[in-house]
Amino acid sequence: MNNAATAHASGAPGRGEIPILSLVNITKKFPGVVALNKVSFDVRAGEVHALLGENGAGKSTLMKVLAGKHKPNGGQILLEGEEKVFETPKQAKKSGIVLIHQEQSLVPEMSVAENIFLGSLPKKWGNRVDWKTLHRDSTEILDRLKCSFSSKDMVSDLSIAKKQMVEIARALVFTPKVVVFDEPTASLTDHEKPVLYDIINTLREQGVGIVYISHRMDEIFHLSQRISVLRDGEYNGTVNTADTSEDEVTKLMIGRSLELDHASKPKDFGENMLELRNLTVNGVFEDVSFTIRKGEIVGMYGLVGAGRSEVAETIFGLRKPSGGEILLDGKVESIRSSHDAVVEGIALVPEDRKDQGLILGMNCRDNMTLAGLNTVSSKGFMKAAAEKRVYDKYQQAMKIKTPSWRQKVGNLSGGNQQKIVIGKWLHTHPKLLILDEPTRGIDVGSKAEIHALIKELARTGYAVLVISSEMPEVLGVSNRIVAMYDGRVTAEFDGDAVSEDVLVQAITGQVVASADAPVDRPVA
């Protein structure tokens, strides 16, 4: 790994600057998984240090260790050269380490000032709120952030970007030394972003150390002084932003040799099963066109929020398209509800197993047969024996581990729950199977089993769409890969031949959406 070595040399130490925060050899193990393996990382006062890595590389885990939410199994946290052990997030906060989350936790019906000091409102005689001090202190913080709104404004009246500023202002109450931004621009529009950049730069000039997590290359190159990369739970080098290029960073992110088993992928394809022609849902995604043939696995790769799940939901009848066509088996179909979709032979294994995939309070068997009740009933009455047969078949085929069919699915592990959801759809014998993040939050063993199952299903003639934000998954199972970024298909690739860096470029906005000769795309 020549690249990483040189990158490391030009990075971390050597400049004579003392880091305000150092993480040394942090190791974090979860049952069955090493999430972080001896990761070291440091931030200097007055710098924006970008942290990069694919989904599952360990960024979030590292930040949770830093913020006291996870206890590391090994390693040290040094704040201003002093070793710290954080038992709770509160301790971390008090020491001056603050995380700004994507999800906002403000009280909308309160003023900006009340939100900033929520939980620590200044009091005066008789336990009454000292409004004068409250607004004076709030205004002082807002001024530091160069905010344009007043401390007396209602939070519900503010734009998302301004709400985020309130969130940041709240962090400043504790005079932070290090502020971590986790994908802060995910919910911001393009013209709101500069406001956030200004705040980050203001904080930086005031000597705060900033950790900036994002997938978006343009932001990282615009804001940061240094970039560190995590890969598969390991530290993979730090580079000075000024001395590097997007290409180099991309290589650091993915530079592993994936052991891909292209040979096990299905090979015999039939006619087009699904064809999307310029499918559009206004404000969500635009002009999405691709095809899936019988027996083929198409991977849809993109970041969270790129519009992938929404495309799936539209095919499944849960969203109304505002333009374009969906063709099944060569015929234009109008799918108005999930019921229509099931009748047409479409199955969707949704992204969120617990909220969308399962009735947690129901038992395994009832969940398994829920999408195909007509096949296990006659004249409306359930046939208990037929139901049990269906359950046994898929329970054995997928090796679902559960004491009995009477077990409530809420009590099963993530992997087994996911297998129940997949079983539920196999039982309907669909023509098109869509799997949205089929292995999210699932242990390695079940993951491999589910991947093998997906390939097996395609070989038996299913057309399969796998939506994923994990590159090994997409590369490992797909015959073709459709890349999405910001609600558009940016490129389409041959799943056996595409290189990882090209793929990363396509989903991080480095490739402009265009119609230039994508592989295999039929002429509309």
Partner: protein
């Protein structure tokens, strides 16, 4: 994995141990309470456990019971129906009023049709417009009461020639020595219980009440299913109106007032969760009977009629509290 599993089990064990009493109370508390009451009542009143008294109580409870059967289906589907009280007034007034105008058969058909129409309005607003069921049916409770007054012009209605009509059979008749209202109650309870337990339709209603999002993601037509539960509820109300109208052979404008709460009381007492996705008709039948016996017992003990209201609601709050305590405990074990 193994260690997590162990700690989980350890947690659950200690939890069950501590919550032993609560567990027992939440599972059996109402039944125990009921038995204590029955015993106490029988000590103070010899009539209480007599066959004729028991039959009277069951017959009186059957009107509430018939309605409760339908409302239980709505609740299992994750919604509420508070409009049943006014709907009962409406249906009773209509069937009694039309009896003398178009004859019993026509009156019964017209009453069923109009009541189902009201149910369809509920179902449309909750199922298709996706409005909050509590608000919709509370508004309908008031709106239907207004409708009754407009229809009747504020007058009470009655059947002129009570001895010459077969209409009395639903409220006053006996079949094989059992009162017709009780038979009707039992028949409806059995049919609806069978539908809920053994049909695909019942499974879908449970799924919607358990997790409406996942139900839709499974291709279930949630809108139609929710709509249909309100039709079932309205059908049951129409059956109850048949019994009530036939029994009294007349009707006040507000005859159903307060029934929505008694129905709810019976359902909650039986132990069907207001959160949806769980429950059964049997539970409701038991709850309604408990309610009937307690009210009857209080009367036999010589307490005035209105004490019932106080006692009923003390019991209901107790039941809801137990239900919630049970839920919290379950949530705790799930998230451990």
């Amino acid at each position: 994995m193994a260690s997590a599993e162990q700690t989980k089990q350890g947690f659950m064990l200690s939890k069950t141990h501590k919550a032993g009493l609560l567990n027992f109370l939440s599972a059996q508390g109402i039944l125990v309470f009921f038995l204590i009451c029955m015993f106490a009542f029988s000590l103070f009143s010899e009539q209480f456990l007599s066959q004729s008294n028991i039959m009277t109580v069951v017959r009186q409870a059957s009107i509430i019971g018939i309605i409760a059967v339908g409302v239980t289906v709505v609740i299992i589907g994750g919604n509420l129906d508070l409009s049943v009280g006014s709907m009962l007034s409406f249906a009773t007034v209509v069937v009694v009023d039309l009896h003398d105008k178009i004859g019993p058969t026509g009156a019964i058909f017209a009453m069923f049709a109009l009541t189902l129409l009201l149910g369809a309005v509920n179902g449309f607003l909750v199922g298709f417009m996706r409005l909050n069921s509590l608000i919709v049916t509370l508004a309908m409770l008031s709106a239907i009461q207004g409708l009754v007054l407009i229809y009747s012009g504020g007058q009470n209605v009655d059947i002129a020639n009570q001895s010459e009509t077969w209409f009395g059979v639903f409220g006053r008749g006996y079949l094989l020595g059992i009162a017709v209202p009780v038979l009707l109650f039992a028949l409806l309870a059995i049919i609806v219980q069978v539908v809920m337990s053994f049909t695909g339709y019942g499974r879908r209603i449970f799924a919607i009440g358990g997790n409406p999002v996942a139900a839709v993601y499974s291709g279930i037509r949630k809108n139609w299913c929710v709509f249909s539960t309100y039709l079932i509820s309205a059908f049951c109300v129409a059956c109850a109106a048949l019994v009530l109208g036939s029994r009294v052979m007349g009707s006040q404008n507000n005859v159903g007032q307060g029934y929505e709460l008694l129905v709810l009381a019976g359902i909650i007492l039986g132990g069907t969760s207001l959160l949806g996705g769980a429950g059964s008709i049997w539970k409701t039948v038991i709850g309604v009977l408990i309610l009937g016996f307690i009210q009857n017992g209080l009367l036999l003990l010589g307490y005035p009629y209105y004490t019932q209201w106080l006692v009923t609601w003390v019991i209901i709050i107790l039941a809801v509290w137990l239900d919630l305590a049970n839920k919290r405990k379950r949530l705790l074990t799930r998230h451990s």
